[in-house]
């Protein structure tokens, strides 16, 4: 790991195929934050840059006005906890194999190399698993390898831990039931971990210890009354968000935010 005399910036980088729900995840988190900020009477959200809202300091604006399916290069929100700043950034889910967009994404990721970086890998449970493999193999791994360096990526994966978000669980749940969802989650998770282990030559034991996975539902703008199971998946998304924020949140902050999740969900 590289070291620095200065405190490093905390960054969570979301990677995954287009329409996997990276922007939706950020939007959902901001909806919760907006609620939590009012309840706690405390400002956590610093600023956000997302399609449709451009630059804003209001999480409610991100929650309601962000245009989904429109990320060209990246989305970003910045939060301030008791222990410092955290940036949650996501990059376009379908970077071309080459060209300016690809260059921009690489430059963008390269700018994060010196930060205290953690990866979050997004999956769309409805999207073909083998296409996920292609996207990670051909797009995301080469980008982070080129921008950050393969060894550095390996270190980050091993020591900084990473997250796996398996999104759109609601659709599988409603169509195939819990059994189908469990099978698919197992298939996707094991495949991805195998791919990661193989690509970065990671020790299996260490990998199993160094990640957390969440099966989520991130369509917070869904107006229909949510079923209890789907509400649980939404809860998972907020849990994932709070876990990502953990390094910058004080213990009390985390506890109080966590305590508000159930209350917020009851409104849904």
């Amino acid at each position: 790991m590289r070291t620095s005399l200065f405190r490093k910036e905390n960054v969570v980088l979301l990677l995954g195929p287009t329409y996997a729900g990276k922007t939706s995840f950020i939007v959902t988190s901001c909806c919760f934050l907006s609620y939590a900020e009012k309840k706690l009477n405390r400002k956590i959200f610093v600023e956000g840059h997302l399609p449709g809202v451009y630059s804003t300091t209001d999480p409610q604006e991100v929650c309601t006005k962000t245009i989904l399916r429109a990320t060209i290069i990246s989305d970003e929100v910045k939060l301030r906890g008791g222990r410092g700043l955290l940036r949650i950034v996501s990059v376009s889910g379908h970077p071309p194999e080459s060209g300016v967009i690809r260059d921009d994404i690489e430059h963008f990721v390269a700018g994060l190399a010196d930060s205290n970086l953690r990866f979050t890998f997004f999956f769309d449970l409805e999207y073909d698993l083998e296409r996920h493999i292609t996207m990670f193999n051909d797009f995301f791994f080469p980008i982070i390898n080129k921008a950050i360096g393969r060894d550095h990526v390996r270190d980050i994966l091993l020591y900084n831990k990473f997250f796996v978000v398996l999104n759109k669980g609601d659709r599988i749940l409603l169509e195939g039931g819990i059994r189908e969802l469990e099978d698919r989650v197992e298939e996707y998770e094991s495949t991805f971990l195998a791919l990661l282990i193989k690509s970065y030559d990671l020790p299996e034991e260490e990998v199993l210890k160094s990640y957390r996975s969440y099966v989520t539902f991130c369509n917070v703008r869904e107006h229909a009354k949510l079923r209890d199971e789907v509400r649980e998946l939404l809860k998972n998304a907020i849990r994932a968000f709070l876990d990502m924020c953990k390094p910058v949140l004080g213990p009390d902050e985390h506890r109080s935010l966590d305590g508000l999740v159930g209350e917020w969900l009851r409104q849904k």
């Binding site: 287009t18 060209i72 290069i73 999207y127 296409r131 493999i133 299996e204 199993l208 649980e232």
Partner: protein, 429 residues
Amino acid sequence: MSVRMHIPRSLKRFKYLYDMLSAFLGGGSLKIGIRKLRIPESMHFLKESGDEINEFIRERIYPLYESESLLVGVVQYTYDGENAEMRMWYSSLASNEHKSSLASKISPEVFVQDPGDLSVLDVEGLHVCYVFSEMKRILEGGLRPRFKSFRDFVIEHLDYRIFLRDRDLYDRLLKGLSSSITDLAEKLGARFSSEILKAVYGNKIVREVLRSAVTLRDDEIRKFLEDVVHEMLVRALSGRKDDIIFTCDVPLSGDDRKSRREVRPVAARYEFFSCKETEHWVVGTLCRDPRNKLKVCLRIPLVTDVSIPSDPLIVLSVYPLDVRSSMFRNYEHMLIVIRPIFSGESIEHARSRCEHVVGSEINRINDTLRRRYDTTFAEAVLTHYEVITISGVPRRRAREKVYKTPLSLEAMNIKQRLKERLRARRSIF
């Protein structure tokens, strides 16, 4: 005075052309205005005696007798009242030098030998009297006493005076002239209908446009009317270009045009993807600027502002945009894929190349829009309806085109081992 020319019905089978002409002409007819003959300052109405002419000749012409450039002429009706005759006196007529040249052009009886003879006029039958002081110019240009171009001929030579018997005569003259021109124009109108058709068929631009079954833009119609139809009218009426003007009965206001545009339920969106054609290209964004012009913003380190000549609605602005710039994010409708600047290229070269590429790109999009969606680039962008992908591949579809990669055998083995362990710790909620 004006005449209406109806758009030939035979054009109706080219619906777009007909509609556009109708819209442009405001109700389906072209109104050709021919400027009225105004009373020039040098025109005088005679009193009962007609002494003004004699006085004018005595005071103004006699002193100029010595001038070689003086020519005095009168046109008056003959006694039978049905024909007009012209009589002229030219100060240098006496000299053989000019006499021969003039005599060859003008009937000898037109000339009077003594200017005094001009003062003995039949005032009752007087039509017009004129004096030219620049005879040399007339001689150089030749004397063309044809009635149709007579007015122009007179007006061309500034130092002249026209005497008319009275206002009534002037009015009758004008009325006669107007009606003759109107009659002529009406006849021509019918003929031009067919000539317009011919011109439409023969006009290269129109032919090409018709072939691709698309519409003409306003500026193209204007150009067609001004270049082709106007030229035909000028030629036929032997008039000056300024005398024939086009007017619309109901001029279209900007709002009308906009409302016509807004009823079209079509919009376009242009997405970029990892297709071969778009590799190494710069991405730009189309948005609107404060002047409500469309703006193509490119993420390249250049600043310029050019107009696309074929479409005045579009202003191309090349901005050094930051990824997070609000303008870059403000892409409601369309993304344009543009060629990038290569290292080693000069700024000027890059700029010119870029403008060229943007122009051709917009033209290409325009063509696609016209061909497929029966709308134009500007219309598509200015409307706010459902998005249609016109080029490139939508991301949703593109992601379905990603080929499938199976896990390698080694990874498959790892997966099998992991599966067992994951099953043990599986918990979704």
